[in-house]
């Protein structure tokens, strides 16, 4: 373990190294007004025995479960889940539209919850379970939400549809008895430039009814 003066000098050395010009949450020196609770030394550097593997910047192994199947891919840490699914696993159902988490066309489930795959790193879902629109149907049998989307004509150009369906199906999993407001809230992140929202709401409420039977 370093003694405090060594710690100090190594910190100073680091400060001298050229800084990367990226936005940092930190940046200023500690304010004199903060209370240091010296009695709470609950974390010690030497507790870190086996340091975690450092991945990148080249390809690293990611193992995860996709639509019920164990999959292994090699991707750079900067690869998003959306890219990994589309480019590495040929699952092109999730669409990349805004590519910055604003439109939800890339919605997939991670451990059963809808997330934007375009701003989630593939390495971040290592060991977790991913469900895409391709994994929603049981063989040839469509998910009730998918069926309802067809019956109620809930897509026009269809580009937002996979994300929309994943949001609606996740809602019905969590809340089998939703009202219109619940459906609106669940799809509030999914942008549809064609304006099929009323049909989407109709379809989802109809699917909920059907699933209860």
């Amino acid at each position: 373990m370093k003694n405090p003066s060594e710690e100090q000098s190594s910190m100073q050395e680091k400060k001298g190294v050229s800084r990367r010009a990226f936005l940092r949450g930190a940046g200023l020196t500690t304010a004199g007004t903060v209370a240091l609770s010296a009695g709470l030394l609950s974390f010690k550097l030497e507790d870190a025995k086996a340091p975690p593997a450092i991945l990148g910047p080249g390809e690293a192994e990611v193992r995860f479960v996709v639509n019920g199947q164990a999959r292994t891919i090699w991707v750079e840490p900067r690869t998003t889940l959306a890219e990994a699914l589309r480019e590495h696993l040929s699952l092109t159902g999730a669409k990349v539209v805004c590519d910055r988490g604003s439109c939800s066309a890339c919605t997939v489930w991670v451990d059963g919850k809808p997330v934007n795959s375009c701003i989630t790193l593939a390495v971040d879902v290592s060991g977790r379970e991913v469900t895409t629109i391709e994994g929603l149907a049981q063989g040839d049998e469509l998910h009730p939400v998918q069926e309802a989307f067809i019956e109620h004509d809930a897509s026009m150009c269809g580009f937002c549809t996979p994300g929309m369906v994943m949001s609606c199906a996740a809602l019905l999993k969590r809340n089998p008895n939703p009202g219109l407001e619940d459906v609106k809230l669940a799809t509030s992140g999914n942008l549809c430039r064609c304006g099929t929202y009323p049909k989407v709401f109709e379809a989802t409420l109809a699917a909920a009814k059907k699933m209860k039977k």
């Binding site: 680091k14 990367r20 903060v34 609770s37 030394l41 550097l45 450092i54 988490g101 390495v123």
Partner: protein
């Protein structure tokens, strides 16, 4: 859009995370929900050379009342707050806020710690924290320190969290009986940043006099802002329509909004006034329950 290349590690303990931060210095950035950081990296507003992913560290997602505080682990997701029975029943201001933060997909990933540590005046939790006079627990290999929220935000994307530290907990004093709180932001569409947002917490005594006032403003100042003169105007006063109108007027006067696509300065000031008045009323309604 593809982020610049970086190295990545997902430590399993805080100690490991601190070691990595120590080792990689200013090149390292912490990845929590990542839903502010990854878009910034894609747009090249940020290019950290090393990401320390803290999602695998257990025990940072709690929401509980303890020792007079509501204590929230930094990795509690917005969705966790939204679904927490404790929050729903006792802290409606969080339910107000968490429904307005981005969209459901983002709320499944985004964390309360990240929302605050990002240091963005446009984020919603900072104003809520100001209204509730929260404290932020910051941990490092050397131990923990607690920073009052008023001393947390240093500037644009700059906070009290130093390079070798991690924000690990938010602590909110459990408000006494007779307290109500509320938050609302005006947004153009779901997931937009606030045109203006106002968080209010008020405590009134048995005779209807204000014994506590906390008012925080979102996205109308370079940093999250306390409407200090509005608070002073209410403290010790009977909560009359005149007192509330005066507090709202002062908030509109004291904020520093800038013109942008969400509206010009005059409009934003007016909206701060309207929202302040409405949120004080809503907080009072909740205080009387």
């Amino acid at each position: 859009m593809i982020p610049a290349p970086f190295d990545y590690a997902a430590p399993n303990t805080l100690a490991e995370a601190f070691a990595l931060l120590e080792q990689h210095g200013d090149d390292a950035k912490i990845l929590a929900g990542g839903h502010s950081l990854i878009p910034m990296m894609k747009l090249r507003f940020a290019s950290p050379a090393f990401l320390v992913d803290i999602n695998n560290i257990p025990g940072l997602s709690y929401i509980r009342e303890e020792d007079g505080y509501l204590r929230i682990g930094a990795m509690a997701r917005e969705a966790d707050l939204d679904h927490s029975e404790l929050i729903r029943s006792r802290y409606p201001i969080f339910t107000d806020a968490s429904k307005l933060i981005a969209d459901p997909q983002v709320r499944n990933m985004g964390t309360i710690g990240g929302n605050i540590a990002h240091g963005d005046a446009a984020n919603d939790h900072p104003a809520v924290m100001l209204a509730m006079r929260a404290e932020v627990v910051i941990s490092s290999a050397e131990g923990q320190r607690t920073v009052p929220i008023d001393e947390f935000f240093y500037g644009f994307y700059m906070t009290a969290v130093q390079q070798n530290e991690i924000l690990t907990e938010i602590r909110i004093p459990i408000p006494p009986a007779g307290t109500g709180n509320a938050y609302h932001k005006l947004e153009r569409k779901v997931g937009d940043y606030a045109t203006a947002g106002v968080a209010v917490q008020i405590t009134v005594d048995g005779k209807g006099f204000c014994t506590y006032a906390g008012i925080g403003l979102t996205n109308v100042n370079p940093t999250p802002m306390r409407a200090a003169r509005s608070e002073e105007a209410l403290l010790g006063q009977k909560m009359t329509e005149e007192a509330i109108a005066e507090a709202a007027r002062l908030a509109a006067e004291d904020c520093n909004p800038s013109d942008d696509l969400r509206g010009d300065e005059e409009y934003k000031r007016a909206m701060v006034g309207v929202l302040t008045r409405r949120m004080i009323h809503k907080a009072l309604e909740r205080a009387r329950r």
